[in-house]
């Protein structure tokens, strides 16, 4: 491994690493625009200059070069702090700002804009540009979710390289030549591919903004929590950016855009951003994952336990619903445990499934447990990230064994079993039974219990009693993705109202049924899980770490 000196200190780096990454590894940030570790290196913004000294024919020769392109080589000496380096960085910024509008006060990117940040750190000049700036397109709608402001663009080509190299869809290109060039849609195109949102993350400035986030919040109000996308079996690593204070509105735009509803003000999740994990999603996510957070704060959230009293759902104490569940389940089981079916969504975490399995299979020995919800026919996978399986934890369900036992019935048997009276009691967890039951089966059931995050209006008539479940962003736990990678989700904020994570309701239910489960937090469940299910052997939250670990036969 080559040894090089950076600002006087010697370090070792792997062969082939560029100087920019090497510096980053030792905590020295070299400012840059066009370089992105997951895209082809073009070396065009000229921002990442460093001084490179190398032995050439017997003597040390120094030059200023771009750190994104130069690879580490034994004996090389790098300086990031010389006056010439600073001067070139400052000058590059001055060039970039020469035609940049003074939009910061109204720009979404303010606070996380690399141009703005570098300016404060490396620039700080008074503008010497007195000629009129080049005028260009502003607030141009280029796709379902993306808005382009050409005046803010620094022409780093990250967005067009992403669309060329990653999605191969080429919607954007740099058209024109020299100072007349600008980034634009190719004729007849819209930026509507399934991964379009990523260009906003890639854009180092506020040239590409997300309609979903535009004017919502200043970025400095946001808090971030690491999580895992729950919209398919890939399990992309994401960051939930949230803010609980509804007064943190973009004041100016609040006045400008009166049509904003109160409901959107009260959204806690402001946006989803990918986290880098080269083994899973590089640094990309699909638009389903990016905009799929809305159900957490949607108007149909179930936030209180409810019981059906003569045709109407009434909010009640949780104890009352637990009692109804316990009574109902007990009497069904007493007549025949085979009369009960429990269907969970593969959206549950490993901990929740294990808790449910521990209660229903291990303690109550129910045969008819299943997780195989039908797949939405609209959903399709692709060969970039999107898995053909729209559930984040199917493998977890299988490994833990939330499946029918020997003679048990599965989801696909239920319509028949209900019609011929074999099953009369159904508990569904995070699943809308209409997805797998015909209307007549649903009405024929004697007892229907639900644990739900959202309760759509038209489902209400079918509900006898329901417990509110914590939604994505409100709970922690782990998912097992399609390849057996266990990854951790963290809770960003507390559950809405009286909602609780499913594992919590399982403990309450177990207690009600005198089958106590002795866990107090998800770590405890993981501990039991690792003791009892072979593929999770020796796992703990610590050992899973930030990148996740692959277990099972794919490890």
């Amino acid at each position: 491994m080559p040894k090089i000196k950076i600002n006087g200190n010697e370090h070792e780096f792997p062969e082939g690493m560029n100087v920019l990454e090497a510096c980053k590894n030792v905590g020295i940030y070299v400012p840059h625009f066009c370089y992105h570790p997951l895209l082809r290196t073009v070396g065009s913004c000229r921002m990442c200059k460093v001084e490179v000294s190398q032995n050439m024919r017997g003597s040390m020769q120094s030059r200023i070069d771009i750190s994104c392109k130069v690879e580490v080589a034994d004996g090389m000496e790098i300086r990031t702090d010389t006056p010439e380096v600073k001067k070139q960085q400052q000058m590059t910024l001055e060039f970039l700002l020469s035609n940049h509008p003074l939009d910061c006060p109204v720009c979404d990117d303010a606070g996380e804009c690399e141009l703005q940040n570098f300016y404060f750190e490396f620039g700080q000049h008074d503008s010497r540009m007195i000629e009129p700036k080049i005028k260009n397109r502003k607030a141009f709608d280029i796709g379902r979710s993306i808005v382009l402001d050409n005046e803010r663009c620094v022409l780093c080509s990250r967005c067009s390289r992403f669309l060329e190299e990653v999605t191969h869809t080429h919607e954007l290109g740099i058209f024109g030549m020299g100072s007349a060039e600008s980034i634009m849609l190719k004729p007849g195109a819209r930026l509507d591919n399934d991964y379009a949102g990523n260009v906003v993350d890639l854009c180092p400035v506020g040239a590409l903004t997300d309609k979903d986030y535009r004017f919502k919040r200043r970025v400095w109000y946001l808090k971030s929590t690491p999580s895992i996308c729950e919209h398919c079996a890939r399990g992309c690593n994401v960051r939930v950016d949230w803010d609980l204070n509804p007064y943190h509105w973009h004041k100016k735009t609040f006045q400008m855009r009166k049509h904003r509803t109160e409901a959107t003000d009260l959204q806690r999740i402001q946006r989803i951003k990918p986290r880098r994990n080269d083994a899973v999603n590089k640094e990309w996510i699909c638009d389903t994952g990016r905009y799929g957070y809305k159900s957490t704060d949607s108007a149909d959230r179930l936030t209180q336990p409810v019981i059906n009293e003569s045709g109407e759902l009434k909010p009640v104490e949780a104890g009352a619903v637990i009692k109804a569940f316990v009574t109902g389940l007990n009497s069904a089981i007493k007549s025949n445990p085979g009369k009960v079916a429990v269907v969970v969504s593969p959206k549950l975490t490993n901990e929740e499934i294990y808790a449910a399995w521990s209660l229903f299979r291990k303690r109550l020995e129910l045969p008819n447990l299943d997780h195989k919800l039908p797949v939405d026919p609209e959903w399709t996978g692709d060969d970039l990230l999107k898995s053909a399986d729209p559930f984040p934890n199917r493998l977890g369900c299988e490994w833990i064994g939330f499946v029918p036992d020997g003679n048990g019935l599965g989801v696909e048997d239920l319509n028949l079993a209900i019609s011929n009276g074999k099953i009369d009691t159904l508990l569904t967890i995070l699943a809308d039974p209409r997805e797998f039951l015909e209307e007549k089966s649903l009405s024929k059931l004697k007892r229907k219990f639900f644990i739900l995050r959202n309760l759509p209006e038209d489902l209400k008539e079918h509900v006898d009693a329901a417990l509110p479940a914590a939604a994505w962003g409100e709970y922690r736990g782990t998912f097992t993705n399609f390849e057996g990678r266990i990854q951790r989700l963290e809770a960003a904020f507390d559950p809405e109202g009286e909602a609780q994570p499913v594992w919590h309701w399982m403990i309450e239910l177990a207690t009600g049924m005198k089958k106590s489960l002795k866990w107090r937090k998800t770590e405890d469940i993981m501990h039991s899980l690792s003791d009892h299910v072979i593929n999770y052997k020796n796992l703990s939250y610590d050992s899973i770490g930030p990148e996740g670990v692959v277990v099972g036969d794919k490890a």
Binding site: V42, G43, S44, C45, R46, M47, K49, I64, K69, K87, Q88, M91, T92, F95, L96, S98, N99, R128, M129, I130, E131, I134, V154, L155, E164, H170, E171, L172, G173, I174, F175, G176, M177, G178, S179, A180, E181, K186, P187, G188, A189
Partner: protein, 587 residues
Amino acid sequence: MSEGNGNCSLVEVADGLKAKYEQPRAALVPLLFAVQTRDGRVTDEAEQEIADLLQIDTEQVHEAVTFYPLLSEKPLGKILIQVCHNISCSLLGVEPLIDVLENELGIKAGEVTPDGEIGLRRSECLGCCCDAPMMLVGEKFFGNLTEEKVKDVVAKLKAGEEVVNDSPLTPTNEIENPALSGNFKVPNASSIKVAEARGAYQIAKKVLKEMSPEEITNQVKASGLRGQGGAGFPTGLKWSFVPKTDGQKYLTVNCDESEPGTCKDREILRRDPHKLIEGIIIASKAIGVTKSYIYIRREFYEPAQILDRAIQEAYDSGYLGKDILGTGMDLDVYTHPGGGAYICGEETGLIQSLEGRKGWPRIKPPFPAVQGLFWKPTVVNNVETISNVPFIMEKGVEAYRSRGTEKSPGTKLFGVSGHVKRPGVYELPMGVPLRDLIFGYADGIREGHSLKAVIPGGSSVPILKAEEIDVNMDFESTAEAGTMLGSGGAIVMDETVKIPEALEVLSRFYAHESCGQCTPCREGGIWIYKILHRMNSGLGRKGDIELLLDLAANMDGTTICPLAAAAAWPVQSAIKKFPEEFEALLY
């Protein structure tokens, strides 16, 4: 450069073009010209059509259409008049002529007459500086323009009459034992019969039969031949960098000739194309290539036609093609049109352009000799460089080195344009005194005027004042004098010239020609131009000179290719040499 005609479907044209290249995408620019000729512009549908034919994305097609100045989404007019407004033409009064054209046509430059017949456009340097002022009318050339000529052409166009080339032979000289210009004054030397009668292809025959590639390369190395495209890199050494493997390699001949003040390669193409072809044959043997491309700026319509004809003749006579002259060597030579962008003269910009991309230069390393065209080892040489090879092989190292200096041996084609009596292209030994070039060969400054300044080697090199012209025109002496030999095209200015105005013309050129990749070049070039334009409009401000120098300093050596530096040097040198003229513009 077959661009198809009415009888040929685009599919057939595309198939013909694709066969020339390792990758079909390389056919992009020629195909775009074919549809532009067919439709009068490039439509979105045509972009789609071509994308399908070449199996690339329309975005990649659209990038090329919007990048290359010669391609247009808007109608260009059935006949397009392109007038050069760069330095040599502007020194000789092209601006009033553009006014005349605008008046006569009733449109502004950049517009098309309402009937869609005639388009008028300003153009950057068209590589014909010694015939300045000049314009292209469709594919026809008009040099040494006067108001009468311009009016006459417009009248003919309006009357629907054909116009014919008005391209008198550029003045040249006689030199004993010429290496390059021996056939320049021979009528019809572009015909292979005439050329052969004067000895063309004799030395190629001999070399192919008798010499090994190493022997050829060594002889070229020993001759000390240096690149004539501007950088002066030793040619034999460049050839020797090409890996000696069996895989595909390429020789690419650079005839983009777009550096203002430079118009020498055009003379070789027009007046002795077989010299170039013979040089290509020998060089190809030395480097081990079987395919060679000549990248010609498309505005060289007449020279390209002459060259295409000469290539065809060379095929017909067995000098090109399979098993040349029974020696077992195969060689195909193709011409490829440029899109009108100066940056495609830079060797990696040229390669990108040949591959059907925007002419965005590549970061070096890798150097073309290792990874060039289609990422294969490639030698890029200037037309004049390659045209020297037959002489070196025929007359030998001694004869070549008997002229010029130790480090700049041989002769060279020197161009002289601007305020001289006899602008022209002169073959002279390297090291010829600049004074002799201007006052001897070019016959001195125009009547009643005196010399003020010279840009000795193409627009990029530092300017010299009248009292500084006692410099020999070779690489070392020019460097000692604080300037450069460059492409050897001297631009001469008399006392009527205001240096800040001349500089504005040059900076407009560099701002226009930046490929747009690098921040300092894209933003700095246009900024410098705007400042100069403002100063020349009477709105100069204190601090402008310092700002110009600061911007120039930060463009020099900070970018991917040297264009940004080439834009900076004229600014630095003009301000250094003529500070009082700039200071006088500040208020």
